[in-house]
């Protein structure tokens, strides 16, 4: 029974991978920008960054997806559903990326920055050579968790017309009336993605770990 629908389900799996692969970098970039705003010395930027995190992080992802999918066309922008969902996932998880980056930076001992200043490094070098490399090491695990959440969050596509893994298994279930089998297949798909992600995260973390 599965073999007759393997094509569709694999297609859905690929779409889930693509959604994740497009949305996570977007979340990273956007999250970095918001994080820079939040730690910048310019007060309006700090307020804007904080407002962004408070608004986005406290709304359900579905709400943000529906707002973008049905709100943008009313504003005259009609982009394909796939990219609407990528945008929604990116915008939503950017708030989490921002907070992760902030806590990563907080994790760096103040003395490190003071020492770097003391030996006469300019501000750019303090940030790029001392602060960020150490901050990044503290962020590997939480960023991996966000990546997993992006993959899981993409399942919302099933409610808003994106042919990803969950929607394809739902259609499979509609045709064959095998809900347990259908959703077990979907669960395995997500498990495969997320075990791979956590494996990579563990590897990276072992490489970059800071011994304290």
């Amino acid at each position: 029974m599965l073999s007759g629908h393997a094509g569709e389900i694999l297609g859905g799996f690929t779409t889930t991978l693509l959604l994740t692969a497009c949305a996570f970098p977007l979340a990273l970039v956007l999250g970095c920008v918001v994080a820079i705003c939040r730690i910048s010395p310019v007060r309006p930027l700090r307020i804007a960054g904080r407002l962004y995190v408070d608004l986005v992080r406290n709304s359900p992802l579905l709400l943000i997806a529906v707002l973008l999918i049905f709100g943008l066309p009313d504003a005259g922008v009609l982009i394909p559903l796939f990219w609407c969902l990528v945008l929604a996932l990116g915008v939503y998880f950017a708030a989490y990326v921002c907070e992760t980056i902030r806590s990563g930076i907080r994790a760096v001992d103040r003395g490190q920055v003071e020492a770097a200043r003391a030996i006469g490094l300019p501000f750019r070098r303090v940030v790029l050579d001392v602060l960020l490399p150490q901050a990044f090491r503290a962020m590997v695990q939480p960023l991996g968790t966000i990546l997993i959440n992006v993959a899981l969050g993409s399942a919302l596509g099933a409610a808003v017309g994106v042919d990803e893994l969950t929607l394809e298994t739902r259609s499979f279930n509609l045709e064959t009336a095998e809900p347990i089998l259908a959703f077990a297949v979907a669960a395995c798909g997500y498990l495969v993605i997320n075990l791979a992600v956590s494996g990579v995260v563990r590897l990276v973390e072992r490489k970059v770990r800071v011994l304290r």
Binding site: F70, A158, E175, A177, P179
Partner: protein, 310 residues
């Protein structure tokens, strides 16, 4: 960082509400409460249910015994399908043909129309019937052979036809084959199945809610929306940006889903359907729920057992 002052929290909440509310209103066409048609709010099957029959001398079966011990009929239903099962936010009551059938059945079995509606959508109906989380499923549930392997069907109690709605300046559609190579919004379940069967070349775009399907047509994201004619007429009648096409297709025989392991209970439910068809309850229920949304007089109730799988 110091704890935020209450005043600032309130300010933030206010900003959020002020930003979210108009956005939400704009994306649903501004009338989420009745999902686009004031007629939905006036549908009420209470009178038909009140005049429904009570079964006498019913044989004792495990399922009936369980329902009577609970004192309430647990059913899998929908609260977002206008005309069939729709929550009226003003009253908190679910109105529609399907919920009416469930209430009539509860009254037939228990003497009172006590129904507990569990909403799980098209995905979970077989599973929750099999594991006895619900006693029956009355939710625009199309009888099919593949489902009849897993659950029993009493019915059909209604045979729906699918219709097609396009935008006011959308493409000419005179038959279902005109949907080939077009993006067509559907809801998961009966509508999606009917479209895939009648026109496999159409690209189904699945949205959870009928209001989302309507918005997708209005905004030009899809070229058409297909659903059963009761839902479509109810929407198209009040929205000038939507146009009902003359094309109808397929036939979705809706059945009452039952656990597979109790054939005697299925006979009770079939007897119930025959009874409400004969004593006019079926017609009364139709006139108070689907009737106001579609044109023409009430149809003849279908004969139980008349489709494969029932």
């Amino acid at each position: 960082m110091p704890a935020p002052l209450p005043r600032r929290t309130a300010l933030r909440a206010g900003l959020f509400a002020a930003g979210a509310v108009p956005l939400l209103a704009s994306c649903s066409g501004g009338s989420t409460r009745t999902a686009g048609n004031p007629a939905y709010a006036t549908l009420d099957q209470a009178d038909a249910v009140a005049r429904g029959p009570v079964g006498v001398d019913l044989p004792e079966t495990p399922t009936l015994h369980r329902i009577r011990a609970q004192g309430v009929l647990r059913q899998s239903g929908s609260v977002t399908t206008p005309g069939f099962g729709m929550m009226n936010p003003a009253t908190g009551k679910i109105t529609g043909f399907d919920i009416g059938i469930a209430q009539l059945l509860a009254k037939y079995l228990l003497g009172t129309p006590e129904v507990d509606t569990i909403t799980g959508g098209a995905d979970t109906r077989e599973a929750i019937l099999q594991n006895q989380s619900v006693d029956v499923a009355v939710c625009t549930y199309t009888i099919s052979k593949s489902r009849a392997r897993l659950v029993s069907f009493a019915g059909p109690y209604y045979v729906a036809r699918s219709g097609i709605v396009v935008g006011a300046d959308g493409p000419q559609v005179t038959a279902v084959r005109d949907l080939a190579d077009k993006d067509v919004a559907v809801q998961p379940g009966a509508a999606q199945e009917a479209l895939q069967k009648a026109c496999p070349q159409a690209r189904a775009v699945v949205f959870e809610e009928s209001s989302q399907c309507a918005a997708a047509v209005r905004q030009g994201r899809v070229q058409a929306w297909s659903a059963n004619t009761a839902i479509l007429l109810g929407k198209a009648a009040v929205d000038a940006r939507l146009r009902m096409t003359p094309a109808t297709y397929g036939s979705s025989p809706f059945g009452i889903g039952l656990p597979k392991d109790d054939p005697a209970f299925k006979q009770i439910v079939v007897g119930f359907l025959q009874r409400i068809a004969a004593d006019g309850s079926w017609r009364r229920l139709w006139e108070q729920t689907v009737g106001p949304l579609v044109s023409g007089p009430a149809p003849e109730p279908p004969r139980p057992g008349s489709v494969p799988g029932s």
